[in-house]
Symmetry: C2
Subunit: 207 residues, 2 copies
DNA sequence: CAGAAACCTTGCGTGCACGCAAGTTTGCGT
DNA sequence: ACGCAAACTTGCGTGCACGCAAGGTTTCTG
């Protein structure tokens, strides 16, 4: 499933992708993100600037990809892994797990993303859109509703996550409340959707 | 509220904006959208190319703005106008009303947007994001929940609308079902969210 | 009504995204 | 082992978004 289809060309591609996102993150940390040209990233990774855009659709994406990794598909897998739990709980737990303590280098990188407006937006955006697809598939399997319903619910969850992340990464001009740690924000944002998840779950079970 | 703050500078600005979006739509219809440069639109509207981007953030936005107009804020107003109806119904009706029969020139323009991938995406995207803010405000007034909850629900509704529009504007390679007219798609996409809207409504009422 | 302040337009320069058409590498069948 | 086809990289060219600063217009203020 997550194995390499053939072997060697795929390795090279993955190596290049990794080199690019790590170079992007490293450069963004040591200089300011604004002072990093895409040419620099490409050069640091040993490829042409044109190739950079074969891997990432924008300058910001490589940087956030260094943090994001494959969280989104792990969320989908975690939801699948608990078919007995209440759906709303399974979703909330999976998301909180995935977005809690993003790892070692993540700490400094997240500060960077939080600080920088363009990165903030790309982060929330890609997180949300990357989550929508896999989660929709997982939901469609889990409840036996039509794909459209699963897609709407997945998109709603993704939107809630995006809002939580935006809230969490807000500049917070010291006037408003710090609005708490990310896990709490995530659960609070997901709470309003619980009735909808419950409904589709019971409807599927009772059907 | 929707009045001009002072007068004359605002008139000129609105005139320019209107000239730009109408020029954009006209050119996009008579040539193909791909054959319309932003320079052409600017010239047709009698402003410099640089000024174009002071009004619209991308080439596609002017075209979809010609169709979109101010639908999104009308949705918010319509929700506010029916404080007695069930929230889920008020939202669904308001949205269906706003997105049904977009007007005269809309017919041809919508075909154009439907046909063209980049326009489709911009259309669904701006529609959704333009809806989220005003609707969140309206919801926050209507139910007396915290703003965060209102925002999540508004974003979910916006996501559902986006999905319905995407589905409706899908190329539909004649293999899948035509998936029906837009109002039906909208109601179907909004249906899964009704429990969440009911819940926040009763919680606010009972509170 | 004159001067100032706010605002808008515009040209210029830069960086970026991407289509296209070579040129090069990898994989596979025979 | 060989050669072809698919896939990847790269340079080039184009169009676009946008920061910046100069100049013009509208609005505000005394």
């Amino acid at each position: 499933m997550t194995e390499r289809p053939t072997g060697l060309r795929e390795q090279k591609k993955e190596a290049t992708r990794k080199a690019l996102r790590e170079a992007a993150l490293r450069l963004a940390i040591e200089r300011e993100p604004d002072n990093v040209r895409v040419d620099d990233i490409a050069q640091a990774a040993g490829v042409s600037p044109r190739t950079y855009n074969n891997y990432f659709p924008s300058r910001e994406h490589a940087i956030v990809a260094a943090v994001t990794a494959d969280r989104e598909s792990r969320v989908a897998a975690a939801v699948r892994a608990r078919p007995d739990a209440r759906l709303a709980d399974a979703v909330a737990d999976a998301i909180v797990d995935a977005y809690t303590d993003p790892g070692e280098h993540g700490r400094e990188a997240l500060l960077l993303i939080t600080t920088h407006p363009a990165l903030r937006q790309t982060y929330a955006e890609t997180t949300s859109s990357a989550l929508e697809g896999p989660l929709a598939t997982a939901l469609a399997e889990r409840v036996h509703a039509d794909p459209q319903t699963a897609r709407v619910l997945a998109a709603s969850v993704a939107a809630a996550v995006r809002i939580a992340i935006e809230e969490w990464a807000r500049p917070s001009g010291a006037l408003v409340v710090p609005s708490g740690p990310l896990p709490d924000l995530l659960r609070a944002a997901l709470a309003p959707l619980a009735p909808a998840l419950d409904a589709v779950e019971s409807r599927a079970t009772g059907d």
